[in-house]
Symmetry: C2
Subunit: 442 residues, 2 copies
């Protein structure tokens, strides 16, 4: 790798240390005095795991992955895959699909399945996808653990009505543990996959939620699982200096306590943008409780050097930054431009050296930053990354003393939406109507 580090993949927290960023940095002593916190976090997670509360740690040892592979054999007569779901029901699948295939896959590969993700209640989005796909040739996944997610139901009801009319509703697969979706699956005889009760949506990508659709998209799901299993071994190490997830959490905990209320994840490869979006839910929804938590931000290198870097370098010192670097890109180009310093360089060298320049500039300004360096981005390394972040989030939840596995605050808004749709008048339902005094016509 750039510096001749003798490891294929590694987590690097050098630039959070006193040695590099001065007195604002972490010293070995800072870490030693955190021993109680580290032990509390480690034991908290391991105890929950032993109590069977953390299904995401068990599912990766499911021996029967064939049920997913069989699926892609059972359904063959389709050209499109549409996944309907919200948040944790869909983001993980999207993240893996794009992480492996990149962002232009639907337009580049004329002979592979085209894949679409319906993850909002925006009617223009539904319209766009329906214009593109042929429902008669579409494999449809509907994913909602509760089976009652309102946006998912709305999109599904609209598509189902069209499919029923076309007589092509045999290619529907439901992934749900209850609610209306499970009822429909049973009534209509759709194939149904359960979601384990003890796996929260945002931790569910390596369960049926992700593995069923991914196997039909040609993802090597066994590669993902192997990566997660290898990472699991590292994350069960009590020694924080050898446990990347525990150290990741600790570093973030220390800097959160030093006023860094924002955590930036900055991949220097566009295929990992959706990984960022997945991490963003994981970190925000797991930890944002009781006035605690840390706001995650996704930034994409090198392009955000032309958008966000000025703020990171010279704005408020409220951020800790993590780079995601991949050494080998799947494709590359040589730049030819005589008399210019770019001449004869690979494009991948430019983006990797831009990351180095940014890292150096941040460190020189005393801004803490860590890096996760991967030799290649494939199912195996992505599986490692996914599981490291799941464990890191679990450890962080213990450190800040919240329950990382619920999301109680979002119910209130849902209730209001429901009552409005049920015909309750806005005047009765909504206290906070606009006051004409505070409106400006534009």
């Amino acid at each position: 790798m750039y510096y001749g580090v003798d490891m294929t993949n590694y987590f690097d927290y050098t630039n959070t240390t006193e040695e590099k960023i001065g007195i604002k940095g972490v010293s070995l002593k800072d870490i030693e005095v955190m021993e109680d916190t580290i032990n509390r976090a480690y034991n908290g997670v391991i105890n929950k795991y032993k109590n069977k509360e953390l299904g995401f740690m068990d599912i990766i040892y499911d021996e029967n992955l064939n049920k997913y592979y069989d699926l892609s054999k059972y359904y063959t007569d389709y050209e499109y895959i549409v996944v309907i779901g919200m948040g944790g029901s869909i983001l993980g699948t999207q993240m893996v699909y794009e992480g492996i295939n990149g962002m232009y896959s639907n337009e580049i590969n004329s002979n592979t399945k085209k894949v679409y993700f319906l993850d909002n209640s925006d009617p223009e989005k539904l319209y766009g996808i329906l214009k593109i796909v042929d429902l008669k040739k579409t494999l449809l996944f509907i994913v909602s653990k509760s089976g009652n997610t309102v946006e998912t139901l709305a999109n599904f009801f609209i598509i189902k009505e069209k499919m029923d009319k076309l007589g092509c509703n045999n290619n529907t697969i439901i992934i749900s543990s209850g609610g209306i979706l499970k009822d429909i699956a049973e009534k209509e005889g759709y194939m149904l996959f359960d979601v384990p009760e003890n796996v929260e949506g945002r931790f569910s990508v390596l369960s049926s939620v992700g593995l069923a659709p991914m196997s039909c998209m040609g993802i090597d799901i066994m590669g993902l699982i192997k990566g997660a299993r290898d990472m699991d071994k590292l994350c069960k190490n009590e020694d924080v200096f050898k446990n990347p997830a525990l150290m990741y959490a600790l570093i973030h905990y220390i800097f959160l306590n030093r006023g860094k209320n924002i955590s930036v994840l900055m991949p220097y490869i566009e295929r990992l943008h959706k990984f960022g979006m997945w991490y963003r839910q994981l970190w925000a929804e797991s930890l944002g409780k009781d006035g605690k938590g840390q706001t995650p931000i996704i930034s994409t290198g090198a392009k955000d050097q032309h958008s966000q870097l000025q703020l990171y370098l010279d704005g408020p010192k409220d951020k800790i930054i993590t780079f995601l670097n991949v050494e080998k890109f799947k494709e590359d180009f040589i730049i030819k431009c005589p008399n210019h310093y770019l001449d004869n360089h690979k494009l991948s060298k430019l983006i990797n050296f831009e990351q180095l320049g940014t890292e150096e500039a941040l460190t020189s300004k005393g801004i803490p930053n860590t890096s996760i360096v991967l030799e290649e981005l494939n199912e195996y390394s992505l599986g490692k990354l996914i599981y490291m972040y799941e464990m890191g989030t679990a450890f962080m939840g213990e450190m800040i003393r919240i329950n990382a596995f619920n999301q109680p605050a979002v119910e209130e808004g849902k209730k209001i939406t429901r009552k409005l749709l049920e015909g309750k008048s806005i005047e009765n339902m909504v206290k906070n109507k606009p006051n004409e005094k505070y409106l400006i016509e534009i």
Copy 2:
């Protein structure tokens, strides 16, 4: 609109007031005592404008837009448009293109030009675009005010070499005021557009930078300009209660001083996601200086209710939120599902009521939020929105006493990258090499 407000488009700051969010809110008295700040901001911007420092305020009165319309007549024999640029050279064009056409335009419309944006030094991205487009049928825009942006040059050199080999380099248009790009344009006889000296990249969307490519994409650029001109009149009003940009800045300034170091922009329509990305550069790069500024975040409704809302509602109280709402969607669907409260509702009603539910939940928790409500999203209303944010950013810059029109901090990293590419050894260039002690193999 939802509440029977008698305005077509408006900015609403009701939910930042004491009446709605209690003592943490803004009172009329709070605003009155800010008179000096308001005047300083207003006069600061107007004086810079009169001194011809703020080109973005002048360009919207350019009478000669025909040069852009002519362009789309002059070049006719192409099926693809590729724009190469970084940050402010490309984000504005992307924002308008997607804001008008939505995200699936390339796949839906078989008879319109397909449009691609090359805005990174990621070789996989370049590979993807080159796999899709036929360079012989491609109109190519290269945009860089300085003419020396390294990622733009790298992508351009690689594509130019291919086009030269194919003998199809006549469809290249350069938008630049100098540097290597201008030299090449002159040497090769490419059509060349200047960027006015006093227009910063992130404020340049309504100059040649955006208008030239947009006119070839079928955007009604006159509609954009008309919207901006109408907004300009409002933004020149000294009365903060009638000036939406000045009030937007003031509200954000007040809450920044009350510890809200994060500003969330949350459109409830996916077409505005890229507007968010454009705003994100504008707000971050203009204001993030001298330890000051406010970190912008883009969130997309309704989907981020399943990802970020838990954090916003129950995490640290460090945010001010702005909703972007559009009443009428271009497409819509009726949901049919007997015995469910969604039955017979339009999908647009669901997303709009979800926004209301979220707004109500935030307000009940005392979290300040504003809304910009548009009846429809088209070139005219988007032009208004763009210009309101440009002016709001300019006013905010005066309030926090920084120069909103430079970005001095980003040079350091660029220098390091350049020296590395010039062959300086990493050991000499980079002080902050990883220390093996702080690496964990993964």
